[in-house]
Protein backbone atom coordinates (compact mmCIF):
# COMPACT_ATOMS: atom_id res chain seq x y z
CA UNK A 1 0.00 0.00 0.00
CA UNK A 2 2.68 2.53 1.07
CA UNK A 3 6.35 2.16 0.09
CA UNK A 4 9.45 2.94 2.17
CA UNK A 5 10.41 5.66 -0.33
CA UNK A 6 7.05 7.36 0.09
CA UNK A 7 7.38 7.25 3.88
CA UNK A 8 10.90 8.67 3.66
CA UNK A 9 9.58 11.55 1.53
CA UNK A 10 6.86 12.17 4.13
CA UNK A 11 9.49 12.34 6.86
CA UNK A 12 11.34 14.98 4.84
CA UNK A 13 8.12 17.03 5.03
CA UNK A 14 7.15 16.62 1.36
CA UNK A 15 3.42 17.58 1.10
CA UNK A 16 3.07 15.66 -2.18
CA UNK A 17 4.15 12.49 -0.41
CA UNK A 18 1.59 13.05 2.35
CA UNK A 19 -1.03 13.55 -0.30
CA UNK A 20 -0.10 10.27 -1.95
CA UNK A 21 -0.29 8.41 1.38
CA UNK A 22 -3.78 9.82 1.95
CA UNK A 23 -4.89 8.90 -1.57
CA UNK A 24 -3.70 5.32 -1.14
CA UNK A 25 -5.05 4.74 2.35
CA UNK A 26 -8.14 6.91 2.84
CA UNK A 27 -10.69 4.24 2.02
CA UNK A 28 -9.04 1.76 4.37
CA UNK A 29 -8.94 4.34 7.14
CA UNK A 30 -12.54 5.41 6.54
CA UNK A 31 -13.78 1.80 6.43
CA UNK A 32 -12.02 0.86 9.66
CA UNK A 33 -13.38 3.97 11.37
CA UNK A 34 -16.88 3.18 10.09
CA UNK A 35 -16.68 -0.37 11.43
CA UNK A 36 -15.65 0.96 14.83
CA UNK A 37 -17.94 3.95 15.28
CA UNK A 38 -20.83 2.74 13.14
CA UNK A 39 -21.80 6.08 11.60
CA UNK A 40 -20.65 7.58 8.28
CA UNK A 41 -20.22 11.19 9.44
CA UNK A 42 -18.47 10.10 12.64
CA UNK A 43 -16.21 7.83 10.58
CA UNK A 44 -15.15 10.79 8.39
CA UNK A 45 -14.38 12.86 11.50
CA UNK A 46 -12.35 9.99 12.95
CA UNK A 47 -10.45 9.56 9.67
CA UNK A 48 -9.56 13.28 9.55
CA UNK A 49 -8.31 13.21 13.10
CA UNK A 50 -6.43 9.96 12.51
CA UNK A 51 -4.50 11.52 9.60
CA UNK A 52 -3.47 14.45 11.78
CA UNK A 53 -2.06 11.93 14.25
CA UNK A 54 -0.36 10.07 11.41
CA UNK A 55 1.36 13.26 10.21
CA UNK A 56 2.46 14.12 13.72
CA UNK A 57 3.69 10.60 14.39
CA UNK A 58 5.43 9.88 11.08
CA UNK A 59 8.73 11.39 12.21
CA UNK A 60 8.84 8.87 15.04
CA UNK A 61 7.70 5.89 12.97
CA UNK A 62 10.78 3.69 12.61
CA UNK A 63 9.27 1.05 10.32
CA UNK A 64 9.82 -1.72 12.85
CA UNK A 65 6.14 -2.46 12.33
CA UNK A 66 4.40 -2.42 8.98
CA UNK A 67 2.99 1.00 8.12
CA UNK A 68 -0.49 -0.47 7.66
CA UNK A 69 -0.44 -2.08 11.12
CA UNK A 70 0.71 1.20 12.63
CA UNK A 71 -2.06 3.01 10.75
CA UNK A 72 -4.71 0.54 11.99
CA UNK A 73 -3.55 1.16 15.56
CA UNK A 74 -3.81 4.91 15.12
CA UNK A 75 -7.31 4.68 13.66
CA UNK A 76 -8.37 2.35 16.50
CA UNK A 77 -6.95 4.75 19.08
CA UNK A 78 -8.57 7.77 17.40
CA UNK A 79 -11.93 6.03 17.19
CA UNK A 80 -11.82 5.13 20.90
CA UNK A 81 -10.88 8.72 21.83
CA UNK A 82 -13.71 9.97 19.62
CA UNK A 83 -16.25 7.69 21.28
CA UNK A 84 -14.91 8.73 24.67
CA UNK A 85 -15.42 12.42 23.82
CA UNK A 86 -18.88 11.69 22.49
CA UNK A 87 -19.58 9.90 25.77
CA UNK A 88 -20.31 6.70 23.95
CA UNK A 89 -17.28 4.94 25.38
CA UNK A 90 -19.40 3.56 28.21
CA UNK A 91 -21.19 1.49 25.59
CA UNK A 92 -17.84 0.17 24.34
CA UNK A 93 -16.98 -1.03 27.83
CA UNK A 94 -20.49 -2.18 28.75
CA UNK A 95 -21.05 -5.83 29.53
CA UNK A 96 -22.92 -7.13 26.50
CA UNK A 97 -24.55 -9.87 28.56
CA UNK A 98 -26.51 -7.19 30.37
CA UNK A 99 -27.66 -5.46 27.23
CA UNK A 100 -31.02 -6.09 25.74
CA UNK A 101 -29.88 -6.85 22.26
CA UNK A 102 -32.07 -8.88 20.04
CA UNK A 103 -30.28 -11.57 18.17
CA UNK A 104 -31.69 -10.31 14.95
CA UNK A 105 -30.93 -12.35 11.91
CA UNK A 106 -28.40 -10.61 9.73
CA UNK A 107 -30.06 -12.20 6.81
CA UNK A 108 -33.15 -14.28 6.53
CA UNK A 109 -31.60 -16.17 3.66
CA UNK A 110 -30.65 -19.68 4.46
CA UNK A 111 -26.88 -20.07 4.60
CA UNK A 112 -25.93 -23.52 3.47
CA UNK A 113 -23.45 -25.56 5.46
CA UNK A 114 -20.45 -23.65 6.80
CA UNK A 115 -19.99 -20.98 4.14
CA UNK A 116 -20.40 -17.40 5.31
CA UNK A 117 -22.07 -14.93 3.02
CA UNK A 118 -20.06 -11.69 3.08
CA UNK A 119 -23.03 -9.32 3.01
CA UNK A 120 -24.68 -11.22 5.85
CA UNK A 121 -21.46 -11.05 7.84
CA UNK A 122 -21.19 -7.27 7.34
CA UNK A 123 -24.79 -6.86 8.51
CA UNK A 124 -24.24 -9.19 11.47
CA UNK A 125 -21.14 -7.24 12.44
CA UNK A 126 -23.07 -3.97 12.31
CA UNK A 127 -25.81 -5.52 14.45
CA UNK A 128 -23.40 -6.44 17.26
CA UNK A 129 -23.36 -4.20 20.34
CA UNK A 130 -20.45 -1.78 20.10
CA UNK A 131 -18.63 -3.41 23.04
CA UNK A 132 -18.40 -6.68 21.09
CA UNK A 133 -18.04 -5.19 17.63
CA UNK A 134 -14.99 -3.11 18.60
CA UNK A 135 -13.12 -6.14 19.85
CA UNK A 136 -13.95 -8.48 16.99
CA UNK A 137 -13.21 -5.81 14.36
CA UNK A 138 -9.82 -4.97 15.85
CA UNK A 139 -8.82 -8.60 16.40
CA UNK A 140 -10.32 -10.60 13.56
CA UNK A 141 -10.46 -7.95 10.84
CA UNK A 142 -7.40 -5.80 11.59
CA UNK A 143 -5.20 -8.30 13.39
CA UNK A 144 -4.43 -6.38 16.60
CA UNK A 145 -3.52 -8.59 19.54
CA UNK A 146 -5.79 -8.90 22.58
CA UNK A 147 -3.12 -7.09 24.60
CA UNK A 148 -3.06 -4.15 22.16
CA UNK A 149 -6.85 -3.98 22.13
CA UNK A 150 -6.87 -4.01 25.92
CA UNK A 151 -4.51 -1.02 25.93
CA UNK A 152 -6.74 0.89 23.51
CA UNK A 153 -9.84 0.16 25.53
CA UNK A 154 -8.21 0.59 28.91
CA UNK A 155 -9.04 -2.94 29.95
CA UNK A 156 -7.25 -6.24 30.49
CA UNK A 157 -6.21 -8.79 27.90
CA UNK A 158 -8.42 -11.32 29.69
CA UNK A 159 -11.48 -9.06 29.42
CA UNK A 160 -10.79 -8.62 25.70
CA UNK A 161 -10.61 -12.40 25.23
CA UNK A 162 -13.96 -12.85 26.97
CA UNK A 163 -15.57 -10.27 24.68
CA UNK A 164 -14.00 -11.76 21.60
CA UNK A 165 -15.37 -15.16 22.56
CA UNK A 166 -18.86 -13.70 23.03
CA UNK A 167 -18.67 -11.72 19.81
CA UNK A 168 -17.74 -14.76 17.71
CA UNK A 169 -20.43 -16.79 19.40
CA UNK A 170 -23.02 -14.14 18.71
CA UNK A 171 -21.97 -13.80 15.08
CA UNK A 172 -22.23 -17.54 14.67
CA UNK A 173 -25.70 -17.44 16.23
CA UNK A 174 -26.81 -14.77 13.77
CA UNK A 175 -25.29 -16.37 10.71
CA UNK A 176 -26.01 -20.05 11.28
CA UNK A 177 -29.22 -20.13 13.27
CA UNK A 178 -30.87 -22.55 10.86
CA UNK A 179 -27.93 -24.99 10.87
CA UNK A 180 -27.76 -24.92 14.66
CA UNK A 181 -31.37 -25.97 14.85
CA UNK A 182 -30.62 -28.81 12.47
CA UNK A 183 -27.63 -29.96 14.54
CA UNK A 184 -29.67 -30.02 17.71
CA UNK A 185 -32.11 -32.47 16.15
Amino acid sequence: MVSHELLAACRRGDPKAFEEVVRRTHKHVYTQALRLVGDRQDAEDVAQEAYLRVFRGLAGFREEAQFETWLYRIVANTAMSYLRRRQRFGAVLADPEEEEVSLQRASEERVDQQAVDRDSLVKALAALPISLRTVVVLKDVYGLTCLEIGRELGTTEGAVKVRLHRARKRLKGMLFASEEGRDEV
Binding site: G13, R40, R168, L175
Partner: protein, 130 residues
Protein backbone atom coordinates in the same frame (compact mmCIF):
# COMPACT_ATOMS: atom_id res chain seq x y z
CA UNK B 1 -15.16 -35.22 26.54
CA UNK B 2 -18.79 -34.41 25.90
CA UNK B 3 -20.26 -31.93 23.42
CA UNK B 4 -21.31 -29.54 26.25
CA UNK B 5 -17.71 -29.35 27.38
CA UNK B 6 -16.26 -28.92 23.89
CA UNK B 7 -18.69 -26.33 22.50
CA UNK B 8 -17.56 -23.40 24.70
CA UNK B 9 -13.97 -23.95 23.55
CA UNK B 10 -14.72 -23.77 19.85
CA UNK B 11 -14.77 -19.95 19.26
CA UNK B 12 -11.16 -19.72 20.49
CA UNK B 13 -10.08 -23.02 18.98
CA UNK B 14 -11.24 -21.80 15.58
CA UNK B 15 -8.51 -19.17 15.57
CA UNK B 16 -6.12 -21.96 14.62
CA UNK B 17 -3.37 -21.19 17.13
CA UNK B 18 -1.18 -24.32 17.13
CA UNK B 19 -1.65 -26.47 20.23
CA UNK B 20 -1.05 -30.00 21.28
CA UNK B 21 -3.74 -32.43 20.22
CA UNK B 22 -5.74 -33.51 23.23
CA UNK B 23 -9.16 -34.67 24.31
CA UNK B 24 -10.92 -31.89 22.39
CA UNK B 25 -9.38 -33.01 19.12
CA UNK B 26 -10.28 -36.62 19.87
CA UNK B 27 -13.88 -35.55 20.42
CA UNK B 28 -13.91 -33.45 17.26
CA UNK B 29 -12.65 -36.38 15.22
CA UNK B 30 -15.63 -38.44 16.24
CA UNK B 31 -18.42 -35.84 16.60
CA UNK B 32 -19.83 -34.50 13.35
CA UNK B 33 -21.96 -31.84 15.06
CA UNK B 34 -19.05 -30.31 16.99
CA UNK B 35 -16.68 -30.44 14.01
CA UNK B 36 -19.37 -28.71 11.90
CA UNK B 37 -19.66 -26.07 14.61
CA UNK B 38 -15.90 -25.56 14.57
CA UNK B 39 -15.98 -25.23 10.78
CA UNK B 40 -18.61 -22.46 11.14
CA UNK B 41 -16.43 -20.50 13.53
CA UNK B 42 -13.44 -20.96 11.25
CA UNK B 43 -15.45 -19.77 8.30
CA UNK B 44 -16.52 -16.64 10.22
CA UNK B 45 -12.96 -15.82 11.29
CA UNK B 46 -11.66 -16.38 7.77
CA UNK B 47 -14.30 -14.14 6.24
CA UNK B 48 -13.72 -11.48 8.91
CA UNK B 49 -10.03 -11.29 7.98
CA UNK B 50 -11.00 -10.95 4.33
CA UNK B 51 -13.16 -7.92 5.24
CA UNK B 52 -9.98 -5.89 5.66
CA UNK B 53 -9.89 -5.48 1.89
CA UNK B 54 -13.62 -4.88 1.53
CA UNK B 55 -13.81 -1.11 1.51
CA UNK B 56 -16.71 1.21 2.17
CA UNK B 57 -17.21 4.20 -0.08
CA UNK B 58 -16.92 7.55 1.72
CA UNK B 59 -19.08 10.52 0.75
CA UNK B 60 -18.24 12.74 -2.24
CA UNK B 61 -15.63 15.31 -1.36
CA UNK B 62 -14.20 13.33 1.54
CA UNK B 63 -10.79 12.89 -0.09
CA UNK B 64 -10.70 16.59 -1.05
CA UNK B 65 -11.46 17.55 2.57
CA UNK B 66 -8.69 15.30 3.82
CA UNK B 67 -6.20 16.68 1.30
CA UNK B 68 -7.07 20.27 2.16
CA UNK B 69 -5.75 19.76 5.69
CA UNK B 70 -2.37 18.48 4.50
CA UNK B 71 -0.24 21.63 3.98
CA UNK B 72 -0.78 22.84 7.53
CA UNK B 73 -0.25 19.37 8.93
CA UNK B 74 2.91 18.71 6.99
CA UNK B 75 4.45 21.98 8.16
CA UNK B 76 3.48 21.17 11.72
CA UNK B 77 5.04 17.74 11.34
CA UNK B 78 8.23 19.27 10.03
CA UNK B 79 8.40 21.77 12.90
CA UNK B 80 7.77 18.97 15.38
CA UNK B 81 10.47 16.88 13.76
CA UNK B 82 12.96 19.70 14.19
CA UNK B 83 11.75 20.24 17.75
CA UNK B 84 12.16 16.58 18.67
CA UNK B 85 15.42 15.71 16.88
CA UNK B 86 18.37 15.77 19.34
CA UNK B 87 20.98 15.93 16.57
CA UNK B 88 19.26 19.01 15.15
CA UNK B 89 19.14 20.53 18.64
CA UNK B 90 22.92 20.05 18.92
CA UNK B 91 23.51 21.52 15.45
CA UNK B 92 21.30 24.56 16.19
CA UNK B 93 23.02 25.17 19.56
CA UNK B 94 26.47 24.81 17.95
CA UNK B 95 25.56 27.21 15.17
CA UNK B 96 24.07 29.65 17.69
CA UNK B 97 27.24 29.45 19.82
CA UNK B 98 29.43 30.08 16.79
CA UNK B 99 27.35 33.12 15.77
CA UNK B 100 27.45 34.61 19.31
CA UNK B 101 31.19 33.90 19.59
CA UNK B 102 31.89 35.44 16.18
CA UNK B 103 29.83 38.51 17.04
CA UNK B 104 31.71 38.95 20.34
CA UNK B 105 35.10 38.69 18.63
CA UNK B 106 33.99 41.13 15.92
CA UNK B 107 32.79 43.59 18.55
CA UNK B 108 36.08 43.40 20.47
CA UNK B 109 38.06 43.81 17.27
CA UNK B 110 35.95 46.82 16.24
CA UNK B 111 36.35 48.46 19.68
CA UNK B 112 40.07 47.78 19.67
CA UNK B 113 40.44 49.38 16.22
CA UNK B 114 38.32 52.35 17.31
CA UNK B 115 40.46 52.77 20.42
CA UNK B 116 43.68 52.61 18.40
CA UNK B 117 42.27 55.13 15.91
CA UNK B 118 41.38 57.54 18.74
CA UNK B 119 44.87 57.22 20.25
CA UNK B 120 46.48 57.80 16.85
CA UNK B 121 44.33 60.85 16.09
CA UNK B 122 45.00 62.21 19.64
CA UNK B 123 48.74 61.79 19.09
CA UNK B 124 48.70 63.54 15.68
CA UNK B 125 46.64 66.44 17.12
CA UNK B 126 49.14 66.79 19.98
CA UNK B 127 52.08 66.88 17.58
CA UNK B 128 50.36 69.53 15.43
CA UNK B 129 49.81 71.85 18.45
CA UNK B 130 53.41 71.32 19.52
Amino acid sequence: MRCEEVRPLLPDLAEGIPREAGEVEVHLATCAACSAELARYRSIILELSALREVLAEPSDGFLARLLSQIPESSWRALVQRVASDERLHFAVFSLGGAVVGGAAIGLLWWRARRGLGAIASGASAASETA
